[in-house]
Symmetry: C2
Subunit: 180 residues, 2 copies
């Protein structure tokens, strides 16, 4: 179903707001409804080898009833990102930005200006890691380990992680040795 | 444990913000993390009879880690309300305002000025009901029924309600007949 969200009464109302008020509103909204995450995954390469990768993401979740607001965030506030339906629960949509350059150039400056409240500590770590990745520090073991250490301090010390710190670091060490 | 939340770094940082920016931030935060509810309950009277009552509430929930932010809302933004720990889940606190005059005089004007996005439709119904209660319209069956009809349109048509519309209306009708 294709819908023009710009005709939604809420969307139209928000378009009447001053940009600055919108930005502070969005900061408050994101403080409750968004997440900054830094996940680690094993990515299989064409040659059969495995490469450990860092996947940073800024995400906002909303029930499908409020999809118009995610469209508003995408089209009018951040002017980037993508929206997709979750597989579970199916009624929820995610607005996400995963591109590192976009995170570095747009998202980090946004939340430096429009500061978060309850999520600020996680955001600060996230910003630090994005800066390290931007400076290619993750390409050395020392740099990668610093990033892992920081990432594990995020989101209540990473209770929902798929891999342990030891698993990731062992894998990365091996990978860098192999690459020599 | 008594803690002075005013020394929390987040609390102190927010105190540096312009009032207007705080208010828009709080509107955005409330859009995701608050609820406007209108519940109906049977209240046993001293004489043994039962009286149907309307309990309006504005509530914001937060994990205990972010209790400082609820304290900020209570002390610096709304300057009223109470904070209490939930029984389940125990790690969550609620900031709530249930006083009808406070809702009428403070909360409704606040969210009329700092408009919500995804929760605006529920808020508008809530405000309408508070106005009716303020004008004592709930003291007649006609007025009470209008309020019940409106309330059942809130929060996805009141899926989590304890009593059906028929149960409430039957009870109220009886109560008003008995009071004659």
């Amino acid at each position: 179903m294709i819908m023009n969200y710009k005709t939604h009464s809420g969307y139209k109302r928000m378009m009447q707001m001053k940009r600055k008020n919108i930005f502070w509103f969005v900061a408050g909204f994101a403080d409750g409804e968004s997440s900054f995450s830094m996940s680690f995954a094993k990515q299989k390469q064409k040659d059969g080898s495995v490469k450990w990768v860092i996947n940073p993401a800024f995400q906002v979740y909303q029930h499908e009833d409020n999809l118009w607001f995610l469209e508003f965030l995408k089209n009018e506030v951040f002017k980037t990102g993508r929206i997709h339906r979750k597989t579970s629960p199916y009624s929820v949509f995610t607005f996400s930005i995963e591109n590192r350059t976009t995170l570095h150039d747009k998202i980090i400056p946004f939340f430096r200006k429009y500061r978060l409240a309850t999520k600020d500590a996680d955001f600060q770590i996230f910003a630090k890691i994005i800066s390290k990745i931007y400076n290619k520090e993750h390409l050395t073991y020392k740099g990668f380990k610093e990033i892992v250490d920081l990432a594990f301090k995020m989101n209540k010390n990473g209770k929902q992680r798929k891999f342990t710190k030891a698993q990731i670091l062992k894998g990365v060490k091996q990978q860098l040795l192999n690459a020599r």
